[in-house]
């Protein structure tokens, strides 16, 4: 009986540790495989071509700069649109809204964060793209609507529930006493929010923004459906862009038929992996540091 129990205990430990080990292994294998496959393109000879702006697989030039610029442009635009809205909304919910409203909004945020990306893409194709085209006509800019701006808008909408719910959690964690002190000193609600609550919460809010960045940077389908996918450096809001993720999704089929294409595409995947990975790890570390200090 005693021996049985000890064996059962050991079995649970071994199984659990084994699974955890597999999860660690998965991360390692994922990173290493991408690195190894990207290696032929990462060699010293190719460095200039890989970061160049010419994309002509048939001629053997695989410049990823246009795509990196496309990814960055669309992500920064999306964050620029959604972060101010999310911060203001989160402040409203934490500083002004009644408890009842707050309790109603939280499940809505959960639901909104779960909406699949392809649904955002559908909405983008049906409404955002025609809207951008109409705006272009109004301003006299020739555009098809499939543009950087459309991609940014769709992505902003997609990142919003996520950013908003993290930001709201952070703001609600600010101690009530700080607010009461500021209000008792005669500060208005806005002054309290701006000088006290935001200052106290800035680290956590930074994490919310950064995690939104990681999500938006790797988003594929929703962006790909509206952003135009023309391999040019994005110069205008109404012009097309071509993010890294869309490049991967569009050209994987040709990967095996064109020499060295695989290396180029895997470099793109590695770039996505490293960028999002670095950002989310940094966010975790900042958050952990804050928790330790606070």
């Amino acid at each position: 009986m005693r021996v049985d129990r000890r064996w059962g205990d050991a079995a649970v430990t071994v199984l659990a540790r084994g699974a955890l080990f597999l999860v660690f292994g998965l991360a390692l294998v994922l990173g290493l495989t991408l690195l190894l496959r990207a290696c032929p393109m990462l060699g010293s000879l190719e460095r200039s071509t890989l970061l160049g702006s010419a994309w002509a697989p048939a001629q053997g030039s695989f410049g990823l700069r246009t795509f990196l610029a496309g990814s960055l442009a669309v992500t920064v635009l999306a964050l620029g649109l959604s972060v101010p809205l999310c911060l203001l909304s989160a402040l409203y919910l934490s500083e002004h809204a009644s408890r009842r409203l707050r309790e109603r909004v939280q499940p809505v945020l959960d639901v909104a964060a779960g909406v699949p990306s392809v649904v955002f893409g559908l909405f983008g194709v049906m409404f955002v793209v025609p809207g951008v085209a109409a705006l272009g006509r109004l301003l006299g800019v020739p555009t098809t609507g499939y543009s950087l701006l459309a991609g940014g808008l769709v992505l902003a909408l997609m990142a919003a529930p996520f950013t908003l719910s993290v930001a709201l959690d952070v703001l609600l964690a600010v101690p009530m006493g700080l607010r009461e002190t500021a209000l008792a000193m005669g500060a208005t609600r806005w002054e309290t929010a701006w000088h006290v609550v935001l200052r106290e919460a800035r680290g956590g809010l930074l994490v919310a923004v950064v995690m939104g960045f990681a999500r938006a940077f790797g988003e594929t389908l929703a962006v790909m459906m509206v952003v135009g996918n023309v391999a040019v450096l994005p110069t205008s809001l109404f012009g097309p862009a071509y993010p890294l993720s869309a490049l991967l999704a569009n050209t994987y089929g040709e990967m095996m038929s064109i020499p060295r294409m695989e290396g180029a595409l895997m470099s793109a995947a590695l770039l996505l992996f490293l960028a999002t990975g670095a950002v989310s790890c940094a966010a975790t570390l900042v958050l952990r540091r804050m928790r330790r200090l606070g």
Partner: protein, 276 residues
């Protein structure tokens, strides 16, 4: 600054904050409403019962359910023991922190990267696009989501539970299986459903691996359709009757995902009411 100016600033800020929330709310209401309005007229029984060759979306619905169910069960096999190993009694703080970092890394990795990774492996092993490959890839996407949520579920248990069970002479394995698992069950179910919902809406990872077809999935080795890819492919066609399949598929996908989210929330709330 004068008093009136400060008050005016306060009012202005309040308007701006409320306005921001309003804009977001209207945008989302518009999104949901437009998907429902466009999809509802097409979501007839004939659409739901016929496969792609009959002009319906049954193949995509069945495909998505197979992919989602297979992948989430597979992910559960890895995520649940991994979360058990991350409980305080098993993992020293240093290991737990390192694991949290790795999980964040995997959680933040875009699903297209998982798709590309799995595609490489498939080429290497000479496997075609198939239901099995799709399930495996989707499981990769789900594992970090599920493990993180399950770790949280275990962590939210009161530490006294462990102390008391240990004092009664139970081993770690017994506490895990007979106490912690049972007490954390609602959280674990929520985690499972969360990962299922995330997986069923994910398209980028199965784009290369599950493929696409007009038929119902026949075997594990056949390519399989899915609701998100149905939306993606059918929307690109100029034919309005084919496009209607995209709208119906989008609404169906939305109903599935929102349904799963709401069920998991309701379960979590119900369970938190009577808990030790």
């Amino acid at each position: 600054m004068s008093r009136t100016r400060r008050c005016r600033m306060d009012r202005l800020a309040r308007w701006a904050m409320g306005g921001a929330l309003g804009i977001l709310g209207i945008a989302f209401a518009g999104l949901l409403l437009s998907v429902v309005m466009r999809g509802l007229p097409h979501l007839r029984p004939s659409m739901l019962l016929a496969d792609g060759q009959g002009g319906g979306i049954a193949h995509a619905l069945v495909g998505s359910l197979c992919l989602g169910a297979g992948a989430s069960v597979l992910a559960l096999l890895l995520a649940l023991p991994a979360a058990v190993a991350l409980q305080r009694a098993y993992a020293p703080p240093r290991i737990a922190e390192a694991a949290a970092l790795v999980l964040d890394l995997l959680w933040g990795t875009p699903s297209i990267v998982y798709g590309a990774f799995a595609f490489l492996l498939m080429v290497w092993m000479g496997v075609r696009t198939s239901l099995l490959a799709g399930i495996l890839t989707l499981a990769l996407v789900m594992v970090p989501v599920m493990t993180r949520a399950m770790t949280e579920a275990f962590r939210s248990l009161p530490p006294e539970l462990w102390e008391q069970a240990t004092a009664l002479g139970a081993t770690r394995g017994e506490i895990t299986l007979k106490v912690a698992l049972r007490q954390a069950l609602p959280g674990l179910v929520t985690a499972f459903l969360l990962a299922f919902g995330r997986g069923i809406g994910d398209a980028a990872s199965i784009l290369f691996t599950a493929g696409y077809t007009d038929r119902l999935p026949g075997s594990l080795m056949d390519p399989v359709a899915s609701l998100p890819l149905e939306v993606f492919y059918q929307l690109a066609t100029p034919d309005p009757t084919v496009q209607s399949r995209a709208h119906a598929a989008a609404l169906l996908l939305l109903i599935l995902v929102l349904g799963v989210t709401l069920i998991s929330r309701a379960l979590a709330r119900r369970a938190s009411r009577h808990r030790l």
